[in-house]
Amino acid sequence: MRKLGSIAAVAVGVGVVGLAAWTRQPPQGGATIAGNIKFTGAKPANPKIDMTEEPKCKAKYQAPPTEEVVVVNPNGTLANVFVYVKSGLPATYKAPAPAGSVTLDQDGCRYHPHVLGIMVGQNLEIKNSDGILHNIKAKGTKNRPFNISQPTTMTSTRTFTAPEVMVPLECNVHGWMHAWLGVLAHPFYGVSGSNGGFSIKGLPPGTYTIEAWHEKYGTQTATVTVTGSETKAQDFTFAAK
């Protein structure tokens, strides 16, 4: 009887350990790295887009649209900077792809958003809101490239298999359409928005190399150590070239 009990205890124990292993989440922490992307120097003019060939898109703008190579916010900060944890996570770190998808919209013959992040295995929903012919070409080198056609209002779904910063996306029908996709194996990334801020949340304690990427001004890195649930500030400054 005692023997039986001990066997049962061992079995339960094994079960618990197994269950724990099965439900183990990536080492999520409570730390945050946040900051602003500052910009110094003269704000460069973006190339104007001639949409004469696409009246449907042209009608969506009051002022002549421009490309979004350098978007400086009214408060003087820089938008469309992809900030992410480049290194510092344990080698064994593995995060499952989230169930939610990321959407890239083609609206007014421009991509929305212009810069975005996604996790390996997560669905990228490519939406054509214009209802005219767009093709979406992904030109990754670590991920297989693809080139699909969307001649009408529709949504196509694709996934990416390997971390890659960045995968260029483009439309060849409209040579001015470019977007940039950062593919990562972890959820620790953000993109500076219309106030120039970014934040990377849920970091486990550790020392990280943070990289900020901009399509024209290249990359900058910083080393940040976080513990517990603290929030550390880390700004980046890009200068006009």
């Binding site: 060939e53 012919l133 297989r144 080139n147 699909i148 009408t152």
Partner: protein, 540 residues
């Protein structure tokens, strides 16, 4: 002793056999030395030692040779983004890629060598060794019937418009769509939208099935996308995509045009005979309906690579030529596909990119500019008695050639006659009486120019005197201004012949009858004689 030796031999034989049976599969997977040998000898000149598409010859090519390191292949039977199958790659090796510098290697390399080089190509990219890459050959089905019927083509054309093919390939399919001047491949090199009127230059083959496959899979590495999502999401049925493929295929001749040596120019109008119903008067307008009833001849053009500055990437693949005469004058209609009506500022950035991409062998050549389109018709000054002809590449200083040079302009174009003494020198002939005329039209990527001139002119020393019934040497030269072509950068042909038909003389019909009667008579005589001799012999 002998028993042991026998057993030893037996063991060795078994070992040998097992090596033979087991080793090859593992060797095949890893040992690519044989393939490397073939690659270095035959492929590296263009594709580069490391497979990056950067061999010594690559800089002179457009399209550039494939860069194998990314494992991105245009011609596949797999979905966009997937690796090609071995069979896809072998097809490109075996058959080459029409319209590019890649030749067909079947027949030049042994089966073993081609298989070996295929295995070696796959070592240039880690994607081929990545077991998580799924390579699934798509199932394509077969073309629905009635594909060449008017109804099917109408459906195909409807989808050509509705899914936006014209954006790049143009309204009539000659690669002159509004987005065409902006196109780049994945490496950033300029790339032309395919001219759908030249199916024999399609990289993946000219059949309806080939066209359909390209629509399903796209051409990875190029701007041409896959239309598979449209079918998956039921925006388009499979049959409709087939109809589109059939429509696209219908834009080209049913068969690859055969290059013939002699252009027959029927005689029209009074003076009897010839004509093939080609109307009553000499058609001088480029769009005269009479041209539809005259045979057309295809002449391929190649880059001028003999004199500096050489030009390895001619934009014009060839010209279609038709000719008629009426006993007094000759009319020659030359039509060719050209994506741009040069000079055209919309193509200037494209021209710049072409000139940046294609290496020049002459530092003194000028850069991008608003050059016109040009076409030259070349004849000797006199019809040669034998096979001697002047140097095909615009004659020489001492033996010039007689040319008609047509130059485009926003107003239409003009033609001048003159003597060319080599590529660099052209002396205009002033005689107004012998001057050729030219009328041109540009329509959705096609130039049509009709040259006319009287058969005889006063300046018999310099201007060719056309004579019906003679083989008149003729050659063609073309420049696409928007590709940076001018001067020595042009597309050239070799000598061909123009023959103006003579009215058929009555003896043409009578002589065969006479000849037959004579032969028959002679034959009968011989037989009778032989019989007579035979009887005499048997008697004796």
């Amino acid at each position: 002793m002998t028993v042991w030796r026998a057993i030893g031999r037996f063991q060795m034989a078994i070992m040998g056999l097992s090596v033979l049976l087991c080793a090859p599969s593992s060797l095949r997977a890893q040992d690519t030395t044989a393939g490397k040998k073939v690659y270095v000898k035959w492929c590296a000149g263009c594709h580069g030692e490391t497979g990056a598409g950067d061999g010594p010859a690559a800089a002179y090519m457009l399209p550039r040779p494939r860069n194998f390191t990314g494992a991105i292949y245009k011609i596949r039977t797999t979905a966009s983004g997937q690796l090609p199958t071995d069979a896809d790659m072998m097809r490109a090796i075996d058959e080459g890629l029409p319209g590019s510098a890649m030749p067909a290697w079947k027949g030049r390399l042994s089966d073993a060598d081609r298989r070996a080089v295929l295995a070696y190509l796959k070592t240039f990219s880690s994607f081929f060794a990545d077991t998580s890459q799924h390579v699934v050959e798509l199932k394509f089905g077969s073309a629905p019937g009635g594909g060449s019927g008017a109804e099917a083509l109408k459906v195909g054309r409807q989808f050509y418009d509705s899914i936006g093919c014209r954006k790049c390939h143009g309204d009539q399919g000659r690669g002159d769509g509004p987005s065409a001047p902006t196109l780049k491949d994945d490496a950033g090199f300029p790339i032309f939208a395919a001219d759908l009127h030249q199916s024999w230059r399609f990289r993946g083959g000219a059949s309806v099935e080939d066209v359909y496959r390209r629509l399903r899979t796209g051409l990875d590495g190029t701007p041409m996308p896959s239309f598979a999502d449209l079918i998956d999401q039921k925006f388009l049925t499979d049959e409709q995509l087939w109809r589109l493929a059939q429509y696209v295929r219908s834009l080209s001749p049913a068969r690859t045009p055969e290059v013939r040596d002699v252009i027959h120019a029927p005689r029209v109008g009074g003076g009897g005979g010839g004509g093939r119903g080609a109307g009553g008067t000499l058609p001088t307008a480029p769009d005269d309906s009479a041209w539809a009833r005259v045979d057309r001849y295809w002449f391929p053009l190649v880059g001028q690579v003999i004199r500096k500055s050489r030009w390895f990437v001619p934009a014009i693949a060839g010209v279609w030529v038709q000719a008629v005469h009426d006993g007094q004058a000759v009319a020659v209609r030359v039509s060719w596909d050209d994506r741009s009506q040069s000079p055209d500022t919309a193509w200037l950035p494209f021209e710049k990119r072409v000139l940046e991409t294609v290496a020049s062998d002459d530092s003194g050549t000028s850069g991008a500019g608003l050059w016109p389109d040009q076409l030259a018709l070349q004849f000797p000054r006199r019809i040669p008695a034998g096979m001697e002809r002047p140097y095909f590449l615009m004659g020489t200083e001492t033996d010039p050639v007689y040319q008609w040079r047509w130059v485009s302009s926003p107003a239409g174009g003009r033609v001048v006659a003159g003597l060319a003494r080599g590529l660099e020198r052209f002396d205009t002939l002033a005689g107004a009486e012998g001057a050729p005329g030219a009328r041109s039209s540009y329509d959705h990527g096609e130039w049509r120019v009709v040259f006319t001139r009287s058969l005889a002119t006063p300046d018999t020393a310099n201007e060719l005197q056309f004579e019906p019934g003679r083989a008149i040497p003729v050659a063609f030269f073309a420049w696409d201004g928007s590709s940076g072509e001018h001067g020595t950068r042009l597309a050239v042909s070799t000598w061909y012949f123009l023959a103006l038909d003579q009215p058929t003389p009555p003896r043409v019909f009578i002589s065969p009858v006479v000849a037959m009667a004579l032969t028959l008579g002679l034959g009968v005589m011989v037989v009778l004689r032989a019989q007579r001799r035979g009887t005499a012999g048997s008697r004796g």
